[in-house]
């Protein structure tokens, strides 16, 4: 991917407190178009919270989030649907409407934009074929396996050809085989030009892929590096204390570089 690097999502000095015991502190990160980024960290590190800020289901206390032309500090409620149509989001629990067919679930994302039915039919036929579920288009989600349901969710998320796909633990409910298939599908989608930001707590899962990894720990970015792991990530950042991790950050020269 040698085309001009364009930042399509950025988080700048973002802090967000939740409850009494948790806060994201001064988060900085950027995702360029066509990039694939793993957002890794133990459960409770703040991955979901950070993604929520990025698809603007929540807003920072400090700092700002920029996705496409949408800026969190200048965001109006009315523009949120507009943002959602230009990004894709998937979750661990799929979030499909169980009383609608696979086709209807995917079509929903296009219907809300007011797209014409011929266009919807053509596009969905194409996407469902790509995710390998065209033959199950009239099935209802409960009749599908977890992996298949996640494929439907992915098909819905990319129906409007988004520039970026946010994935919050998309393989969290899946067996190893389905997990591998979903990851492959995400890579395939990424190869088509869609940036992917995938959160997962499963370090083992991502260590072998050589994608960029952002390691989140106790609400802070402890590591942000494009790397192939030789050992365990915890060896790399030297234990789990944040201050220690932070001291290693400069050593690896991570986040600051791309900021203007």
């Amino acid at each position: 991917m040698n085309q001009e690097k364009r930042i399509i999502a950025g988080v700048y000095h973002v802090s967000r407190g939740l409850g009494k015991h948790f806060s994201l502190e001064d988060i900085n990160l950027q995702v360029a178009n066509g990039e694939f980024v793993f957002l890794v960290g133990p459960s409770g590190a703040g991955k979901s919270t950070l993604l929520k800020l990025m698809y603007m289901d929540d807003f920072p206390d400090k700092g700002q989030v920029v996705v496409g032309q949408f800026v969190s500090t200048r965001m109006k409620r009315k523009s949120i649907p507009d943002l959602r149509r230009k990004i894709g989001i998937i979750f661990q629990d799929f979030r499909l409407l169980e009383d609608r067919t696979v086709f209807e679930n995917v079509a929903l994302a296009m219907k809300v934009t007011g797209a014409g039915m011929p266009e919807i039919k053509k596009q969905i036929t194409d996407i469902l074929t790509r995710v390998g579920l065209y033959h199950k288009r009239y099935d209802y989600p409960p009749a599908l396996s977890g992996g298949e349901q996640q494929r439907v969710a992915i098909a819905r998320a990319v129906a409007n050809r988004p520039a970026i796909l946010f994935a919050d633990e998309p393989t969290g409910n899946l067996d190893p085989v389905a997990t591998k298939n979903i990851l492959e599908l995400l890579f395939k989608i990424n190869a088509g030009g869609t940036a992917v930001l995938m959160a997962t707590h499963d370090i083992e899962l991502v260590r072998s892929f050589g994608q960029r990894i952002i390691y989140l720990e106790e609400g802070r970015v402890a590591l942000d590096k494009e790397m192939i792991f030789v050992g365990d990530i915890r060896d790399r950042i030297g234990g789990s204390s944040v201050s220690e991790s932070a001291s290693r950050l400069s050593e690896y020269d991570i986040t600051g570089g791309e900021e203007e």
Binding site: R77, P81, R84, R95, G114, M117
Partner: protein
């Protein structure tokens, strides 16, 4: 909003009604039952009100003349009575007619009257009042005035009974109004809560719709239509049930009236509005608008 979007909203609405037929049906039944209480109450009130009106319409004021009043003075009194405010009709009843009426009233005991040699009854005028003047204040004032006239012996209209009845009617309306208000508010409460619960039941659907970028309008309209439709169907159902109850009641209380058609129309529209507003209020919180 694009025209395509409008079509999908319509599909969304009809689709939702079909998919949620069971919870909708349950809501409609709950709403219909509480509405039945309200309209039964209304029907009872209306029937009692018309009974009260009919009863008071039958009131007559009797003006008894002095014995041996000349024809000229009697006619003079009649003319003056006619020009009294609120008088609708004045009928002359000669002492002979009065005796005949009395005989009829007594029925088989009328032989008693044979013992009386001379007709003891006076000539009189029987007055029918206009409906809106049948009030104790008006009647009392008129009776006082007319009683002073030359040639008039007495004015009689059953004052004690009338006043008692009037008081009873007034307290009936008072209690009725309070009760009606309570029933009405309860029904509004039940309906908006029922609608709210059906919306809570689709919180997941709403969340997913928001996730894929549906506008608030797109999300809201199906629910508002659903609320309105629930209002219409449940009110019609309530009216149907009342019709059955009415049929049944007629066997025991002939002449009991049903609710008028225009009142039914107003009722159905009102229920549709309450249903729609209930949906809107519930969604308002949900969509953080």
């Amino acid at each position: 909003m694009k025209p395509g979007e409008l079509r999908y909203i319509w599909h969304e609405s009809t689709g939702m009604l079909w998919r949620r037929k069971v919870p909708n049906l349950i809501s409609v039944i709950i709403m219909a039952l509480s509405l039945l209480i309200l309209i039964t109450f209304l029907a009872v009130t209306l029937n009692i009100a018309s009974l009260i009106e009919k009863t008071s319409e039958e009131l007559r004021v009797y003006v008894y003349l002095d014995d041996g009043v000349s024809g000229e003075l009697s006619r003079d009194i009649q003319i003056r009575l006619m020009s009294e405010q609120g008088v609708d009709e004045v009928a002359y009843i000669s002492k002979e007619e009065a005796l005949e009426d009395f005989r009829e009233t007594l029925g088989e005991n009328s032989e008693l009257l044979n013992a009386v040699e001379q007709n003891p009854l006076p000539d009189s005028y029987r007055i029918r009042m206009k409906q809106e003047y049948i009030r104790s204040g008006v009647l009392e004032a008129m009776a006082g005035r007319v009683g002073q006239w030359e040639g008039v012996e007495e004015v009689v209209y059953g004052r004690k009974w009338f006043e008692r009845g009037e008081k009873l009617v007034r307290s009936f309306y008072m209690i009725d109004l309070v009760l009606g208000l309570i029933v009405f508010l309860s029904v509004v409460f039940v309906i908006s809560n029922t609608v709210r619960l059906t919306i809570l039941g689709s919180s997941r659907t709403i969340e997913i719709l928001k996730l894929v970028g549906a506008t608030n309008t797109y999300i809201q309209i199906p629910f508002i239509l659903e609320g309105a439709l629930q209002g219409v169907v449940s009110s019609l159902l309530a009216i149907g049930m009342l019709a059955i109850i009415h049929r049944f009641t007629l066997q025991y209380l002939p002449g009991v009236a049903f609710i008028r058609v225009d009142a039914i129309a107003v009722f159905v529209v009102l229920c549709a509005v309450i249903g729609a507003l209930g949906s809107m209020a519930a969604l308002r919180r949900f969509l953080k608008m």
